[in-house]
Symmetry: C2
Subunit: 82 residues, 2 copies
Amino acid sequence: MKATVRIMLHDNVLDPQGKAIRHALETLGFSGVERVRQGKLITLELAETDPGKARQRVREMCEKLLANTVIESYEIDIAEQS
Amino acid sequence: MKATVRIMLHDNVLDPQGKAIRHALETLGFSGVERVRQGKLITLELAETDPGKARQRVREMCEKLLANTVIESYEIDIAEQS
C-alpha cells in the first residue's frame, strides 16, 4: 500500500525558500507569479494492507517525525498499489 | 489561478533523504515501511487566468528552474482559485 504525504508550512509562516524561487522566476523573466510556497512530498510504501490502519500509522509518523506540526500542516493520501 | 507542482526523483535515482527517513522511522519503531522517497511540492499563485496558458507557463518554469529533469520528474496541477 502506498501513502503520499504533503507537508506545507502554515499559511502565516514565512517561507524564505518560496520567496527565493519567486525571485529567481522573476529574474528569468516569468512575470505574474504572485506567491510561491515550497513544501515536502513524501511517498511511503507500506506492508500494511488495511487502508484505515495505514492512514492511522502514517498520521503517527507525521506527528512524530515527518512534520513539525508547530509550523507545518500535513495531508495524507492512501492509495492501493496497482 | 493556483498551480501545484510535484517534483520527485526518477525511480532509478538514489534518494538518500528518503533512506534516512526510512531508517529514522524504523528507529522510532515504525516497522513495515518498505520504501520512502522524498520530493518537493511547490505551489504557485499566478496572475494568469487561462488554465491552458498557466499550465504551459508552469511547464516552462519546471524545465528552466524548478526541476532538474536529468534526475527528476514533475507533475503539474492547475486549479482555479476559490
